[in-house]
């Protein structure tokens, strides 16, 4: 183990421990804020895990998030809490496997539209089912989970997701994913089992998204399809991962934290102009930071360093 790696692991653990201790020092408002932020951090990491290397832009985030939240709402009276999370995760896994198997043949814009359609389809079906079969649109969740409990669970999930994507990045799997993202034909000729790898990654990222939904659901107390399957969640996750840079380990976090704070501030101060500003941020990111802010900063730094090293060349 190199000293650099040791440093990284120590740093990671220190941050996790510091964040674990946070609830003992701050008030309820900060906890609420941190819950929302960690939820998006976990979603963005999970999104980038699949979509970053493969370049499949997925809008199905909220489909899995909502499935998790709904599973929590449906089973919250009949199952003990740990089992509840397990069941939610398994449902998410089952849906992800079916969807993944079906969508592996699609690429580009077809995949984007398919995933968006999928989220809407799930929402329509749940709404129809609730209105016509169970007879109620909303459901209540009464679970003895404190905000601190939710915070710790989301922190654990985010740390887990981060560790997984770190491991993937260092493994043969990560290398295979990079080849798939660059050129699927080449990847197939190298003997990479494209379908299996894509499916595994898609399922893994979907399970994490489902768990985020299931863990966050008790915060709402009341759940209905338009809350649980709000498409804005998909868009926000996507833009957060892109802002940071979906191909980098730290990218999703670097995107999720500032954007979450920005949107929190916007919805508090400019509730009517929220979507205009969201749109402008979207356009700005596509035009100015197409590879993410980390890439931008890194390029800027290397440019400045080379410029400083070769002043003569800059002169002419």
């Amino acid at each position: 183990m190199t000293s650099r790696l040791l440093c990284q692991i120590t740093g990671f653990l220190t941050i996790i421990i510091a964040l674990t201790a946070l609830p003992f020092f701050v008030g309820p408002y900060t906890i609420t804020l941190m819950i929302g932020m960690l939820g998006y951090v976990a979603l963005a990491i999970a999104w980038a895990m699949f979509s970053g290397p493969t370049r499949y832009v997925s809008l199905a985030t909220v489909a899995f998030f909502g499935i998790g939240a709904y599973a929590c709402a449906v089973f919250n009276e009949s199952l003990p809490y740990p089992l509840l999370l397990l069941v939610a995760g398994l449902i998410g896994l089952a849906v992800a496997l079916v969807v993944g198997l079906a969508t592996l043949r699609l690429a580009g814009v077809y995949f984007v539209i398919f995933t968006f359609g999928l989220a809407e389809l799930v929402r329509q079906l749940v709404t129809w089912f609730e209105v016509n079969i169970t007879g109620t649109l909303g459901r209540y969740i009464f679970l003895p989970v404190t905000p601190e409990g939710i915070y710790w669970q989301l922190l654990a999930l985010s740390a887990f997701a981060f560790a997984i994507s770190w491991l993937i990045g260092r493994s043969r799997l990560g290398l295979a994913l990079k080849v798939i993202g660059e050129d699927e034909v080449v990847a197939a000729h190298c003997g990479i089992a494209i379908a299996r790898i894509k499916l595994a990654l898609f399922a893994l990222s979907a399970v994490i998204m489902t768990l985020v939904g299931a863990i966050q659901a008790p915060r709402w107390t009341y759940v209905e399809p338009s809350i649980a399957f709000n498409p804005t969640i998909s868009f926000l996750t996507l833009i957060m991962a892109l802002l940071g840079g979906a191909n980098r380990l730290m990218g999703p976090i670097m995107g999720a934290v500032p954007l979450f704070l920005l949107f929190e501030w916007l919805s508090a101060n400019f509730p009517n102009h929220y979507s205009i500003i969201l749109g402008l941020v979207f356009i700005t990111i596509v035009f100015v930071l197409p590879n993410g802010v980390l890439d931008f900063v890194e390029k800027g730094l290397t440019h400045r360093i080379t410029a400083a090293a070769k002043p003569a060349e800059v002169q002419k």
């Binding site: 832009v57 809407e120 596509v286």
Partner: protein
């Protein structure tokens, strides 16, 4: 009841076909997946509503304002937003992702502007809402006009694209941008024209829709999705495919709403779409995959 359902299905399908034609031009020729397409439709619907409510202007006359305005807007959006992305793109796939994200942004901006100026309420106005006897059943006159307008406008575009030199040049770009430039077609200009034409069709569709449907500032996404579904069902860039797929979707929605459950129409749309994508990934009338 069946005749009524089929007739209203045809009206709805005709409008959908009109909308999808615009999107298939934008995606097939300009190669821009415009996710803000539905927002343009809603803007035109609100324009028709405002002119009708304040000046008493009939939506049919509004078309004469909306179509040039939609063309100009499409022309402008392509020049300002899309052209830099097209120039920057190294691969078609890269452009696809970039254009999706940029038009996503545009979607939110337009939606936000509409919400600020008109609010989130359901909007509609009553124009020629009188029953007319058609084949023994009653149909509102505004729906008949909507169908006639869809047929006339769609027919005009179809004729222009297939029978004129100008339309042939546009279709050549859709088939192969590289070869098109070899035979002296200005691809950039063709793409911009196609995008603007798509904007004009969206505006026309929005005015037509506002004549017989309620709409809100946020319902643009639904129209984008439906138009997209039709485009993909009919095969990208395929005008006749869009026409027939639009009619199929309109009929399917109306039949499900009449005989099964009105709450399931959107689910039907998405279900149909997902099934077709899985069965024929390039669309019902699409070319075989490369």
């Amino acid at each position: 009841m069946l005749v009524t359902a089929i007739l209203s299905g045809l009206v709805l399908g005709g409008t959908y076909a009109l909308l999808a034609m615009g999107l298939t031009l934008q995606y097939g020729i300009a190669r821009i997946m415009n996710l803000a397409y539905g927002e343009l439709i809603i803007v035109a619907a609100f324009l028709a509503y405002t002119l009708f409510a304040t000046l008493g202007l009939s939506p049919v006359w509004t078309l004469f304002i909306a179509i040039p305005a939609g063309f100009a807007l499409g022309w402008g959006i392509y020049g300002v937003l899309m052209q830099p992305l097209v120039r920057r793109a190294r691969t078609p796939a890269g452009l696809e992702i970039d254009s999706i994200l940029a038009t996503f942004g545009l979607l939110f901006v337009i939606q936000g502007l509409l919400l600020v100026s008109f609010g989130a309420n359901f909007t509609s106005y009553s124009y020629l809402n009188v029953a007319v006897d058609v084949f023994g059943t009653k149909l509102a006159a505004n729906r008949l006009i909507a169908l006639a307008l869809a047929v006339v406008l769609g027919g005009a575009i179809y004729f222009a694209l297939t029978r004129t030199l100008w339309g042939t040049a546009l279709r050549a770009v859709s088939v192969s941008p590289v070869s098109a430039s070899l035979v002296g077609i200005d691809v950039d200009r063709a793409a911009r024209t196609a995008f603007a034409l798509g904007g004009a069709l969206a505006a026309a569709g929005g005015v037509v829709i506002s004549m017989y449907q309620t709409f809100t500032a946020t319902s643009g996404v639904v129209f984008t999705m439906k138009a997209l579904i039709i485009v993909i069902m009919g095969g990208v860039g395929n005008i006749l495919g869009a026409l027939s797929a639009g009619l199929v979707l309109g009929l399917a929605e109306t039949l499900v709403a009449t005989y099964v459950d009105p709450g399931l129409t959107l689910a039907t749309t998405y279900g149909l779409f997902i099934a077709i994508l899985l069965w024929r990934p390039t669309g019902l009338f699409g070319r075989a995959a490369r």
